[in-house]
Every structure is written in C-alpha cells, then in structure tokens.
C-alpha cells in the first residue's frame, strides 16, 4: 500500500478506515505516504499544470478511489503585505488569505474537502461535526454541494453570523448547552454510538491532512521556497502541526531544498493552553475553561496541543497569546493596512505577530507569512464600535461641505489628500 495510517507513538500501520486512534495504544493515527517513490516522480511542473485548487497536491493527500473532488477549494491568495509590513516594521511580510477560501470563507473548507471525499469513499450516509463555527459553515456548504445528509453541533453561545451561515444550507444545526469541549465529547459519542461520519472524530486523520495544503500553497506561491517564519492561529493545534508536516514533506519529496522554517503559534489569552505549554515547556498540557471573544479558537482541551507544542519547539519557533482588546486591534490593523477583514482568529494572529516582534522572537527582516484563516463578516459585530457614531447628512452638497468643515482640521486634510 502506497498510503496507510500509522500510529504516531507505537508505529503500528493499518489500512485506510474511519478510525482516529491506534487500536493498540490509542495514540493518534497519521496518514503516511510513499515519499521515496514521490521523490523520483513528482515534479513542480506536474503540480503547476493542474487546476488552481488544493487538490493540485493530490499525491500528498489521502487517495480518493472515486476521484478527487472538483470543488474549487483552496489556492487562496498569498499577498505581499507592504502596508502592514510598514506598520509592524517587517519589510518581508506576506498574508496567506484564507478569509476568501471557497465556499465558506475559512481554511476549514480545506479539511472538509478531504473529509467528505473520504466519507463518501467509506460509504457514510450522514456526516457531522463539532464546531466553533467555521467548520460548521464548511460542512454545511460542502455537504449541500455533494447532496450528503449532515448534522452540525455547535456550542449555543456562538456568534449569530456563524450560526446563520451554517443554517442556510441543507443541514441540521443543533445548539448544545455547553462549551465546545462539551460538544466535542458529544460528537465523539455520536461517531461511535450512531455510526455517523464525524469529520473531526472518526474521519479526523484524513480531515487533518487538508490543512497541509496551506503550507503547500504558501511554498509554491513563494516560488517553491519555504518561508523563514510562519504565524498560525491555534485552536485544536492541528493546523500548525500540519503546516509543519507540509514543509517537511516538500523537502522529503525533493520539491524544495532543506531549510528551517520556524512555526509560531497564536492564541487568545482567555484560552491559551497550547501557548502556555510552549512557554512553560511543561510535560503535560493543562486544560482550561475558555473565556474569550475569540470563539473560533476556544478549545480548552486541544487534541493536538502536545503535538503543536512539539512542532513549534522543534522548528525553533515560539507561541504567544493576546487579550480580547488586542485581538480587536489586530482585526482593525489588518483591515486598515491591507483591506482584509478577518474574524477574531485573524486578529489574534496579527496581534501575536506584533507581540512576538517586540519580544524579539520574530526576526523582523525574515520572510514571514501570517496565516489569516477566516472572514471578518462572520464576527462583524465586534467591529460595531467603528460604525457607532457615523454621521447622517442631508443629500445636499452644502450639507456635505458643512459636515466636512465641522471636522477637525487634520481630519479634513487627510480626507482631501486621500481624494
């Protein structure tokens, strides 16, 4: 078999099946590929000649016997962030913008694309997920596209925009009176008691592989060069680990040269179990009860927390966390400098980058990529303060002039120069 599941702890190998842990030692299973064979066959030109979707890296994604999905997920813009770079004094800064990922405007479309392809392959009739919002949107959208029955479980306190952006699809949304971690436990029960294909439970090894495509795309978009530093938001800890795996795999199959790429993790201080683990170098992750506006990162018992911390340490990177106020400032800074409206996780990423710079952990001259993973329209209420005191004027030129004249002199000068 050219691809199989392998236990990260005891090394046991098993054929693809809907299972997430090793049957012998209960450690996580990971998809492994025949890197030696790929090293001799896979070329840049093979990938570059394919459609602009995440499936252009199909040799490094789980095999789908029924054919890879034709949904245009991934291949999102990598933007040279000159104005944000000026604000942060980082001249070599880029944004990987999954705020415009198709179809549901977050990086979760990537993992769901793989999970649903394998769900169909395994014969599941109903699929589902435990979600902090973005995954719910992605499962709802792609299950509808594929005509699959789906059930989405979310904590009841989720942002209304994320609930609406899930309920609009042909899916069943169920609010759970509890935290994300409560929802996650319930979904684990559903996977085993009801035989539902829960994307982040019994389909998890395949689902998680979709996150690698963030790392593959960044590298290809940089001209097949690994970045020096990448800043990634952390919830369950899977994305940052998989970005690291993507970089290693590209080296293993010979598509890029050996080069260190440092991983930096970002969390909200109100839910920072992985950041704390990195900073304290403790043996075990200490779970927390989340208390933050950053609901998309509010996982108090992250399944890949230990793995994420190990990936960060091994890369020579670091992790930090920021307050809710700093998160909102991060959202505003990205919008005002790059015209990208991100949700709370993106605000955390921008704010953590600023904090790591001040600490000297991030090299300000190094080629750095900030991973923006979700769209600001999903948490738009947080920015209400920006529109709270907007003027209303009569539809007359004189009214416009009067309004402008009433503003402070420097504001007027700013407006005129901008025009």
């Amino acid at each position: 078999m050219s691809q199989f599941l392998e236990c990260r702890s005891c090394g046991e190998k098993i054929e693809f099946r809907p299972e997430t842990v090793c049957p012998t030692c209960f450690s996580p299973l990971e998809v492994v590929y025949d890197y030696e064979a790929l090293r001799n066959t896979l070329q840049h030109s093979d990938i570059e000649g394919r459609p602009g979707t995440m499936w252009r890296y199909q040799e490094l994604l789980p095999e789908v016997p029924g054919g890879i999905p034709d949904t245009p997920v991934g291949w999102t813009p990598l933007i040279r962030a000159r104005r944000l770079g000026e604000a942060l004094n980082m001249p070599n800064l880029y944004i990987k913008n999954d705020a415009v990922n198709f179809p549901s405007l977050s990086f979760k479309d990537r993992v769901v694309s793989v999970a649903l392809a394998k769900a169909v392959d395994f014969g599941f009739r109903t699929i589902g997920c435990a979600s902090t919002g973005n995954l719910a949107n992605a499962v709802g959208a792609q299950a509808s596209m594929l005509g699959l029955k789906s059930v989405i479980l979310i904590p009841q306190g989720l942002e209304q925009q994320k609930i609406l952006a899930s309920a609009c699809y042909n899916t069943q949304v169920i609010k759970v009176a509890g935290s994300y971690d409560d929802v996650n436990r319930l979904c684990t029960e559903l996977a085993y008691r009801e035989g539902i294909g829960i994307v982040n439970v019994n389909l998890r090894p395949f689902y998680a592989e979709g996150s690698k495509t963030v790392g593959f795309e960044i590298t290809e978009q940089l001209g097949w060069t690994l970045p020096d530093q990448v800043v990634v938001p952390m919830a369950g800890g899977s994305l940052i680990s998989k970005v690291g795996k993507a970089f290693r795999e590209l080296i293993q199959v010979g598509l890029v040269g050996e080069k260190p790429a440092k991983l930096f993790g970002a969390q909200a201080t109100g839910c920072a179990p992985i950041s704390t683990l990195v900073k304290t170098s403790a043996d075990e992750l200490v779970p927390v009860k989340p208390d933050t506006i950053v609901k998309s990162l509010a996982i108090g018992t992250p399944a890949d927390g230990r793995k994420a911390a190990d990936s960060i340490h091994q890369s020579g990177g670091w992790a930090e966390d920021v307050s809710d106020e700093e998160t909102v400032e991060g959202i505003a800074l990205l919008a005002e400098t790059e015209g990208i409206f991100t949700e709370t996780a993106g605000g955390v990423t921008v704010a953590v980058a600023g904090k790591l710079l001040k600490q000297g952990r991030l090299d300000r001259r190094a080629l750095t990529v900030l991973c923006i993973t979700g769209n600001g329209l999903k948490t738009a209420d947080l920015m209400e303060y920006k529109a709270a005191d907007l003027a209303v004027i009569e539809p007359k030129y004189s009214a416009f002039q009067a309004y402008i004249n009433s503003q402070q002199k420097e504001e007027k000068e700013h407006y005129v120069s901008a025009c």
Binding site: T20, S27, N184, E189, A191, R193, E284, P287, T301
Partner: protein, 91 residues
C-alpha cells in the same frame, strides 16, 4: 456504591469488547483498580507509566471531564455514569 462504566469505540478493547460494566468503586482510581482485577492490563492501557491518566484518553463522570475535578481521585456517587473515550477528537 454501584456505578456504570461505559467504554466507547476502540477503548472497548481494554475490557474485552464490553460496552457497559457495573461495579462498586468510590473513585475513578478505584474503578480502574476493579477493572484491572477483571481484565488483564487495564491499568497499563489506561494510565501512563507514572500513574496519571493516558494523555490520549479522557474520562468523564456524568459528562464532566475529570481533569477539571480531582483527576483519578475524583469521588463517585451511587448511580454515576463513567465514560471512557478517546481524547483525539475535534479541532
């Protein structure tokens, strides 16, 4: 005091494929000790070598994670439901 212990998914293997086991115990540590008397190797499979809960296994008492209680020393009441599940989920 009698409690009900449920194993889900691959974790059932720890107790010979059983779903539900009723037993008498006062703490989670007591549950594991009792199970170890009935099924070989339970302690080794559920606990780390230093005696803490296996990092990839979660145990709940009536849906409450014991990591937010007294861990393995969390006390049990008659009729409590103890659920043993893989921790590798979500995110």
């Amino acid at each position: 005091m009698s409690v009900r212990v449920e194993f889900l998914g691959p974790l059932k293997q720890v107790v010979g494929g059983e779903d539900i086991i009723e037993l008498e115990a006062g703490t989670i540590a007591g549950v594991i000790e009792k199970l170890n008397e009935q099924y070989q190797g339970v302690t080794d499979r559920l606990l780390e070598p230093e005696g803490t809960l296996h990092r990839h296994i979660n145990i709940y008492i009536n849906e409450e994670d014991i990591r937010f209680k007294e861990q393995l020393q969390t006390a049990l009441s008659p009729g409590d439901v103890v659920t043993v599940i893989s921790a590798i989920a979500g995110g």
